[in-house]
Symmetry: C2
Amino acid sequence: MNVITIERKVLAKNDQVAAENRAAFAAHHLFVVNMVSSPGAGKTSLLERSLETLKGSLRVAVVEGDVQTDLDARRVARYGVPAVQIVTHGGCHLEAKLVQDAIATLDLAGLDLLVIENVGNLVCPANYDLGEAMKVVVVSTTEGDDKPLKYPPMFRNAPVLVINKMDLVPYLDADPDVLERHARQINPALTVFRTSCRSGEGIDAWCAWLAAQVTRRP
Amino acid sequence: MNVITIERKVLAKNDQVAAENRAAFAAHHLFVVNMVSSPGAGKTSLLERSLETLKGSLRVAVVEGDVQTDLDARRVARYGVPAVQIVTHGGCHLEAKLVQDAIATLDLAGLDLLVIENVGNLVCPANYDLGEAMKVVVVSTTEGDDKPLKYPPMFRNAPVLVINKMDLVPYLDADPDVLERHARQINPALTVFRTSCRSGEGIDAWCAWLAAQVTRRP
């Protein structure tokens, strides 16, 4: 029972720092998304496509979270945006304090959109608020259509679902319609996008939605 | 620092129960693998294909670990093998005690091979010994070729790598040779199989290896 108590304390402390992050983002009218997924669902590729599309219209920065390496921050930095890499050294999710330290190195006043790419993990990041406006869960069509049922907390806590790698559907047994139906069983209010970073399918709609969130910010 | 201390205590307690599991497996000359991967890498499909192939030659049972649902145990039970489902209710990995409770429902003396399918998570299960002979890490070709570098503990702790969904390689930018090279950078002693549950590629070699481990058991 000790462990549960301490886990609660960890979450309470995290929520407090997340509230500080949220206040800092609000002070700069900054829209912040926390992208979560399994490893290899294509978060970084989706981000690269989005940076390409949004170039010139939105001022974007990226915080990358990984267990090891700064590969993703390097990929993203090629698009000319500020990119900060957090290495968790074995940690299975980002925490608000890590994000607080990362954004201290960014000029928030000069930004419209901050994308936080979490560690690839469909379980642990579900419970950690980073101060974001919302979580966006990315699922690859190749992961099968049963993931929302098997990992419900993530789909309950993310108001937006991106079904990625749509170009591979012809070669799979999994069905994105079934995946979407399972996700809506867990979270009926989901906003759903279907994308392919290879073919470009759905990237414009996803980026238009992102841009609209920025416009609507208080 | 409290949290770290308690985490150490949790791991020490887990290791103690894992040792009890390992002794029980040894007493029955049972070969036990702990299959780990990202969500949707194809562990259950690989297991289904293996059960089909090994039918009549090995007596197999399966312990399934999932955050939610008993979908996987139902899939596996169709192959006429004993299958126990552990639902972690949000927990991000299996622990030795959960496996101990699960195997109490099995007749270990009547088995040659026990497959434990862990929760889909490339981070947390790396640190939890369940009493298995070895971890087998399954990676789908669709996850990209950089996963060993980004999630090194799992590849360090698993002596066997299965690169699955080989049938999709023609439609991907990721290269299984690069994936394998990255994995060997982390763990040079890796045994590597390349499989496709759709085409059947590599299933025989993987199953022959499993059968050989059973024969070699003390």
